[in-house]
Amino acid sequence: MKKILLLLMAVLLMASIFVGCSKEEAKEEGPVTLEFALWNKSQEPVMQEIVKVFEAQNPDIKVNVQLTPYKQYWTKMETAATGGTLPDVFWMNGPRFINYAKNKMVMPLNDRIESSNIEMDKYPQGLLDLYTYNDELYGIAKDWDTTALWYNKELFDNAGLDYPTNDWTWDDMMAAAEKLTDVENGIYGTAARTEDNQVGLYNTIIAAGGHILSDDRLSAGYDTPETQNGVQVWVDMLNSGYTPTIEQLTDTSAVDMFTSGKIAMMFGASWNVKPFLDNENVQGKIDLVTLPSIKDNGAVIHGLINAISANTEHPEESWKLVEFLASKEANDIWAKSGVVIPSHEDSLELWVNAYPEVNLQAYVDMLPYAQMYPCAESSMWADAEGDILKQIWNAQISVEEGSKLIDEKIESILGK
């Protein structure tokens, strides 16, 4: 009896294995199917909408949208690339770009762009530069994000203060923070966004007139007075007491504190727009302006592109898709959804009006002076930088000491 059972199980096992083995042969005739990879759940439905429009205009192309959570996205892409199954078109970001371009995993698009109708001046130049390697452009920006100064109107009203304006300087902000801080009630004027350089430090470095990485991406600019000033402002903020302590911010995120009405002003990136406005605790009570200036106005900008796999079996169709994604038509769909800022200039107004109750124009206003997010071949330099910055924020070393260390470390990593 037992033997029969065992035999049965073994047979079942074999059967189930071979059921999977009967994979359909690649459909040579009929529509071409493109694989498209992205990582953002809230953008996926919008992408599906765009795909529908695209497929209607191109009946012989089908697009299969694959969602992979961000944490596992790059491992998956790398594995797929090595195994030869990289999706035809996939999202690419700055930090990973050079590695893919250098290893010829993505397709340069100069020729195709030239012979197309794409108007290059409709897209932020900083992003076009970001995705250029060895004079080859590998993609048109699909979206961009940058940071603005969010504030809680209710807290300002309670303190009897005027709301921030686009002309504010850092000192204006700190002066207001002093009056808004009420530690007994757990309210702080501002919050130090030292946990994310894209939202915090890099913006102030640029606004202070400094730079993070050199143009040739072989060294860092921390050992200059301007850059150090950009770092110093956060150290001063942490020492001022108008922000939760670094330990508190490690335990509880600044974003959560802001949406709980505990922070009066805070640097907030454009990806926070929807989460902020969906949060019933601060709905209707918040608004935003452009970042305060230090030496001048400055901000850092980053955005994604839709890259084409260099080894795709369908280069023409992939290009058609990418071309469509760069068009105003596709960008308008992104803009209306409000989930992300479209890269096409002409679609910006639609996005700004997606949430008319807040001043989204603030993000757009910063475009003229927004600089490229610093990227190199791997994130090793950024991780080393982060480790040393941590020591600065926790008052273990001074800004000057730390800056020297950062420059040394980064040069030893990038200079190889």
Partner: protein, 305 residues
Amino acid sequence: MDESTIITKRKLPKKRIKSEHLWAYLLILPTVLGLAIFYVGAFIQNLFYSFTDLGSFGSWSFIGLDNYKRIFSDPEVGKTLSNTFEYVLLSVPLTIFVSIVLAVLLNSKIKGIGFYRTLYFLPAVTMPAAVAMVWKWLFNGNFGLINVMLGKIGIDGPAWIADPNFAMIALVIVAVWMGVGFNMIILLAGLQGIPRSYYEAASIDGASPIHQFFKITLPLLSPSIFFVMIMSLIKAFQIFDIIFLMIGKTSLAIEETKSIVYLFYKYAFEWHDKGYAAAISIVIFFIIMLVTIVQLKLQKKWVNY
């Protein structure tokens, strides 16, 4: 001694031995074949790549022992190894101790034992991501449930996760919490193999439950305990995910908790140096292998079969 019980290999006819060998190979064939294809090959490949400078997409060149030389002078390797050792030394004995006590308790004939067992099993079933989220809140320095409770009895709780001095303790607590359910299953199964009659006989002789535990339970459970010990050690050396889910890259506490597998992961998937990562993994392998061999040798001393 009955002649029939003394069946040593020498006395077996050749045909008997050959048949035994044949059956043995047949029985191990699926597993060994499967493991060879899917795992051993990969392992050897990994060993090979540790002598190269393998990058992200498959390009490599031979660099001999350079990776290994680098490992010995890399302070981060030293730091992560020491963190990992600390974690192993703290969490493994504690986990095993609690698992044994729990398994014995959950083997009692009391009402609702099924209910208890299910609840104690829950931690093992939950996704690590959810576990990390929840414990992060519980450990919150200002508002976490733990510190709120401690506050009620007048203790000012530390910032468990933010403070480098306490993060390891928090990590160990979570590790024990997660790990016990798993071990408990194996130990419970092992306990089934101990006939009740032994305990009854001991009771009649007047032995207390504690006495019975040490003289009957522990020795007869030792094969399962041995298994749990080896697996717990192997698993503990490879701790990685939960650290980052709970503590996060930007915390100072990471310096005191980052593990060696974290370093491996960074080099393999973020810093595009798969060759160095492979070398790190081989170092991890040797350490674990050494510890396991020591345990295998010691098993003769305390494990009863």
